[in-house]
Symmetry: C2
């Protein structure tokens, strides 16, 4: 039977092209008419909704509540925190007018020059400034603390080079903004949310991550400390998947947010912020997928199972359909999400290729022989293997299979990372290794100049100073100066 | 015991002030530093999340999927549909630049004049244009139809007079945008989604609504027909709570979206759009609340039950706490959401007033006597009555009580509307009646001029041409010309 296949570029041929092909052909997202802004298509958005729902549950379990703050930030707010404005001013979308009018010289509309705003508004690139301006009126005493608020929102950073999900001018994210009475509590919150992100990445996305601190030069603009989770993609490049910032009293001072503590003393409030974005979609896609298409972890797949009937005539379809409807009912009872594709205008071969491309974890197919034998064919997307199984316990079989796939995808990524993590002691060896990609553990003297030199010469950056693993001191591979511990280098997205 | 009460202005004294006080004091929302943009506070946002979740489930049950389109719309897109640009151009936030730079004359940042956009971008006031520009590449043949997509998003309309939730420059909403092969199917979709909105308003918000069509002058800019649900607030003013638009082929023509039908003939695609927004929060607040604060329908309350222990000493607290923890467990087993307020730094009287203000449907309190008698005090927010009930079946008692409250709030609003709906035959009577508020059913000749005259003389508008009810023809109360049926007039938000 002739099957129309949506060919992907292979990963080995051109990884970047493979990624772009996959995002487009699996109907995840596409570029829009607005430079750098993407359209997230229904199938891609369904994955994002799963991500959102799970993260939101985890935020609520850890005591957070959601709120919503304005899209616009008065220009003057940005300047209040010196490092913050330095970090964001160069990529801001600026609203200067609030009205259009008919073009006096012809068709269409033009900006009405009389409707110029007194102060320009910035489309939020992140919301620390508008939120801390708001918290000023919410916080008087220690009794008002902590404030544990999260926001789901769109933000805009005018990036010059954009790539679907990985770097877009507008993206969707969540940003937590918390306020605390003590430094210790704020630091604990910063760590706690990093742990939430790591747990989500590993348990749900099946992506192993390194937890650590950013170096000063890689910190969030306005942060005292930035913690991050770093994942390794199949091309050996690192991807920062989430960040959690300890902001000290920087934003409280910038917006004069003070509180009376238990002893009646006034002090500035301590704060954190933390966020993950639609960039996670890029990590999810690149961590697991193959030359046949997406590979989705069952916990985030819009549907975990697709069922395809294979039949020669209406009578056979009726018999197969009857069996499959029972299977669907059993699967749904176990809270397994199912798509039943009994559409008549597509051939089974087309359907097989389509759901493989879309990364559906399990495919069940029943044909005439299965009907006779009371069996069904179960195919795994992760290994591309299939098995004929009896119908009796098909639901529990599928449930176990989904667990196994979730586990297997994670293990595969973990093994890949282990194989692509190298300990290196000399700069020569470093320069050689970095060409092949992967995480490189090496000693660094802590100087921004050394970091800069390495970056300029090798395009590698310090992804993080890892929290876990070997803490033995040593000597910087470049300068020979003392190093407190090995840090993680990689080229990155 | 001294109780600090957050006084509200009474409804009879000043309804508008009562509303504003209530929104602020119940911690629902507040104005931000950005003119016309609100901050939705955690308690208000928790209600919005309940609204979102329920509507989203209903959209999915009716076959819709979510997607996401850009925040920005190229200015030229707006002009493609003549009525559309006419309707929205005067209230657009316009992005003209994409970068700030340090102010050469001093501190702070200024817009970088070199970073001017070639074409200005409009912050979406609604997304028909950017979406139909996208659909052009999604639709080739009837096999690509229908497209049933919804988007949850923020939008901006530069309103000059704003009121929290009711009219804000930025608001949150959902906008459905569907594409169909036939006119009949698109009209059916428009009606179906109006029914979804009506069901949601009545079954969840407990707000009775009239369904009907807007007159030509009240239609959405670009629509062939606008259907709406209209609710009556306690001050006798109407509030448009949701709209569903049949857009004909207007946007398909504006963006040249054609498809090949089953017969191989090319035609323009038929479309609909439909939306509800955070304005629903305003309707919810104004429909039910009283001079003591919010009254929330149990189905949308962030917590349905609050539990307050009343005790003289630690020992008594321990005994009461033990009983209450059992009650909480039983309630949670019935999927009832509970807040247990055992905080020690607030007195029970303060808590009672606070949760009354916040509209928690049921309050349970247990004191020393209850402990002895194995009872608990259950108070209803809607009627402000209370009852002492036995502990044994407290969970099922509360479950029934919540159902009863949901029903009672709806019935009360329905009775109020019935009492405030008047059938009027002369313009003199109309002018008198309209002063007291309410829905007025009167005959109108169908002429925009007559509608305009009535609006100018009485501030009343035609809320809708109702689908249900009396369809008897008659004579226009103003001109005496023939009228097909009575229409609904009111002053409105």
């Amino acid at each position: 039977m002739a099957v129309e296949i949506k060919e992907l570029t292979s990963r080995s041929e051109n990884y970047a092209q493979w990624y772009n092909d996959l995002v487009l052909k699996a109907d995840l997202a596409e570029n829009s008419a607005v430079r750098g802004c993407m359209v997230i298509k229904p199938y891609g958005y369904a994955i994002w909704e799963k991500i959102q729902r799970q993260l939101d549950d985890m935020f609520k379990e850890t005591g957070h509540v959601n709120a919503y703050f304005p899209l616009f930030i008065p220009k003057s707010f940005l300047s209040r925190e010196a490092a913050h404005v330095e970090g964001f001013a160069k990529e801001c979308a600026v609203v200067t007018h609030y009205r259009l009018k008919n073009d006096p010289n012809g068709k269409g509309v033009v900006v009405d020059p009389e409707a110029r705003l007194e102060e320009e508004l910035i489309v939020r690139p992140t919301s620390e400034t508008i939120i801390w301006n708001t918290y000023k009126s919410w916080i008087q005493s220690y009794r008002d603390l902590p404030i544990l608020v999260n926001q789901w929102a769109n933000v805009v950073r005018w990036e010059m080079r954009t790539r679907l999900f990985l770097r877009t001018a507008e993206f969707l994210w969540q940003e937590g903004h918390t306020a605390h009475a003590t430094q210790a509590e704020a630091i604990a919150e910063t760590r706690k949310m990093l742990d939430v992100y790591a747990e989500f990445a590993e348990q749900y996305m099946a992506v192993p991550v390194l937890k650590g601190a950013k170096t000063a030069s890689e910190r969030f603009a306005g942060a005292v400390d930035t913690f991050c989770i770093e994942a390794l993609m199949q091309d050996g490049k690192a991807l920062q998947a989430g960040t959690s910032h300890f902001l000290g009293q920087n934003f409280a001072k910038a917006f004069d947010v003070q509180f009376l503590d238990r002893e009646g003393k006034r002090d500035y409030v301590w704060s954190t912020s933390w966020g993950v974005s639609t960039r996670l979609m890029g990590a999810l896609i690149m961590a697991h997928s193959d030359d046949n298409g997406l590979v989705l972890p069952p916990k985030l797949a819009p549907y975990q199972v697709v069922i395809v009937p294979i039949y020669k005539n209406d009578e056979q379809f009726a018999a197969i359909n009857e069996q499959l409807l029972k299977v669907i009912k059993d699967l749904k009872n176990l809270h397994i999400t199912v798509k039943y594709d009994d559409s008549q205008n597509k051939k089974p071969g087309w359907k097989f290729a389509e759901y493989e491309l879309k990364g559906v974890p399990v495919r069940l197919a029943m044909g005439g022989r299965d009907l006779e034998n009371n069996t069904i064919e179960a195919a795994r997307r992760d290994t591309l293997t299939k098995e004929t199984v009896g119908l009796e316990n098909i639901a529990s079989y599928v449930k176990n299979l989904l667990d196994e796939i979730q586990e297997n995808i994670y293990r595969k990524a973990l093994d890949f990372r282990a194989a692509q993590t190298f300990t290196v002691d000399t700069y020569d060896e470093f320069k050689e290794k970095i060409e092949a990609g992967g995480f490189i553990l090496a000693h660094w003297d802590g100087a921004p100049e050394t970091e800069e030199l390495i970056k300029n010469e090798t395009k590698a950056t310090i992804r993080c100073i890892p929290f876990d693993g070997d803490k033995t001191p040593g000597k910087c591979m470049v300068t020979g100066k003392p190093s407190a511990q090995r840090v993680v280098f990689a080229r990155s997205y």
